[in-house]
């Protein structure tokens, strides 16, 4: 099986584009990634497209209608917030399977503002606010409070994660926001679902990201200069846990996927120089320090208190600003994370550059549940 490389990768600046179409937003990132690879749509042998909001509407094909209809196979993926990572992984798998040498992966989303989850349709009466809350801020608050129960994690510690990621985003021109949010501002923002205040919830934005993946043969032919090697691609669903069906478990599937990714790459958490992980809420990021093995169980609070996860720390997490400030266009997020890590491995991250980064990890969680993890290496 061939090794797989990212030859081109890019994302648009996340924002709100209500006057554009989903394919139009996706096409922009696709062209940027092609340009980054020095290739054209004529070179692509297949395309995998991730989008959630129009999952039944052939977004991939409609992107090609904007940038070039060459007749290549297109597969559209939907996998909750792991949608983009799924498209990337399918592209990776098609090269691993020796089907293709050059494949395009695109993730795109156009979001409204406001609260996600929990509408609870079906028969009878609405259940939101009657049988607890199914809103995403609450579901992830409950997951964070489980950590508080076991380890004494505090509201302030969760809030510090948001301070950190917002700070990181001031150095990322492609983030939705570049605004410092000191601790008191984060903690005194509108409480949405304790302990998540508004500034501890990811931002709903429109965005797209894309990558051109190539086989080793093709990478050598085209030049390895800025190529990034995909050392591992892992995906897991939620294995049975006792409360899983009532309280979605984002921990077990992350641990499962992380274990597989480290094994595939032949590295351990101590070898990873930076991580882009799924901070859909500040409470979620806390859990994943432990789930990804960046620290021992029970030490996540210390990771944020002692600065190990900020730029300049032992293992910087979400130097892009994360979903909390860069923004979270669901279907694009899994490829935007890969763009961020590749940018550091290429030494092109400017002010927020993690110095000397050679190995990075991306992680996304789609509730329901899908976890996608990639480990990427500087060539």
């Amino acid at each position: 099986m061939s090794d797989v490389y990212v030859l081109g990768v890019d994302m648009i600046k996340f924002g709100r584009f209500p006057d554009r179409t989903v394919p139009n937003i996706g096409a922009e990132a696709a062209l940027m990634a092609l340009d980054d690879a020095g290739l054209t749509i004529k070179d692509m042998q297949a395309m995998y497209c991730g989008n959630l909001g129009q999952a039944n509407a052939m977004v991939g094909q409609r992107i090609l209608q904007e940038i070039g209809q060459t007749g290549i196979p297109v597969v559209n993926c939907a996998n909750a917030c792991a949608t983009g990572a799924t498209a990337f992984r399918e592209a990776w798998m098609s090269i691993k399977a020796d089907m293709y040498d050059v494949v395009l992966a695109v993730g795109v989303e156009q979001m409204g503002k406001g609260l996600l989850g929990g509408a609870g349709g079906g028969d009878g009466i609405p259940k939101e606010g009657l049988l607890g809350s199914g809103t995403m801020p609450c579901v992830f608050a409950e997951a964070g409070m489980e950590h508080s129960k076991e380890h004494g994690t505090t509201f302030e510690q969760f809030a510090k994660i948001s301070v950190k990621n917002h700070h990181h985003s001031t150095m990322n021109p492609k983030a939705m926001y570049q605004i410092e949010t000191p601790l008191d501002v984060v903690m005194n923002a509108e409480m949405i679902s304790y302990p998540n205040t508004k500034l501890m919830c990811s931002v709903n934005v429109d965005g797209s990201a894309a990558a051109v993946l190539v086989s080793e043969k093709k990478a050598k032919e085209l030049g390895m200069g800025r190529a990034v090697k995909v050392r591992a691609s892992a995906m897991a669903s939620d294995p049975y846990t006792d409360r899983d069906l009532v309280m979605p478990d984002v921990n077990a599937c992350t641990r499962l996927a992380a274990e597989q990714a480290y094994e595939m790459a032949g590295v351990g958490p101590e070898d990873i120089n930076l991580v882009e992980l799924h901070d859909c809420f500040a409470t979620a990021e806390m859990l994943h320090y432990e789930n990804l093995g960046l620290c021992q169980d029970g030490e996540a609070g210390k990771m944020i208190d002692e600065g190990h996860v900020e730029l300049g720390g032992k293992v910087p997490v979400n130097v892009s600003g994360g979903l909390l400030s860069k923004g979270h266009p669901l279907g694009a997020t899994g490829i935007a994370n890969i763009y961020e890590v590749c940018t550091h491995l290429r030494g092109e991250a400017g002010e927020r550059q993690v110095e000397g980064a050679t190995l990075g990890m991306t992680h996304v969680i789609g509730l329901g549940t899908a976890c996608g993890i990639h480990i990427l290496e500087k060539v």
């Binding site: 609260l115 049988l131 809350s133 809103t135 608050a141 489980e146 949405i192 302990p195 049975y240 069906l245």
Partner: protein, 137 residues
């Protein structure tokens, strides 16, 4: 109420001649307890070992959040709670009859299930519903 209330969820049972209760589906192979009907156990994969059980009306608070922002028309704040029932089964619902203040709510606190009208919510036909809630025991 002129007519009998309907159950808010399928696993809430309202017998003609007894008190309401929550029904679980328990696997005879591994003991896993599920809410809602099923024939295959997703824990041990056994088929046709599932039988119904009456869940206990007492349990302990596993996790919670105080919800301050919900969808339009829903009263806030309220406490969204995850409760492990004594004897098996985990249920999510509103914790009531307690101040919705994170400082006042303790992990592991004992709670009991109570059955009340579903906050006045009615369906299109005007039917009333019975729901379950948790309160401090």
């Amino acid at each position: 109420m002129a007519e009998k209330s309907l159950p808010a969820v399928s696993y809430l049972k309202i017998p003609d001649d007894g008190d309401p209760y929550l029904e679980g589906h328990k696997c005879g192979g591994c003991g896993a307890v599920f809410l809602g009907e099923r024939s295959v156990c997703s824990k041990c994969f056994a088929r046709d070992k599932i039988s119904t059980v009456k869940l206990k009306d007492t349990g302990v608070l596993h996790s919670f959040s105080v919800v301050y922002r919900s969808f339009p028309g829903i009263d806030v704040p309220y406490v969204s709670a995850i409760v492990d029932l004594d004897g098996g089964g985990t249920v999510k619902g509103n914790l009531i009859n307690i101040e919705p203040d994170p400082e006042k709510i303790k992990f592991g606190m004992k709670v009991k299930l109570i059955y009340q009208d579903a906050l006045g919510r009615k369906d299109k036909e005007g039917n009333s519903y019975l729901s379950y809630f948790f309160e401090p025991a």
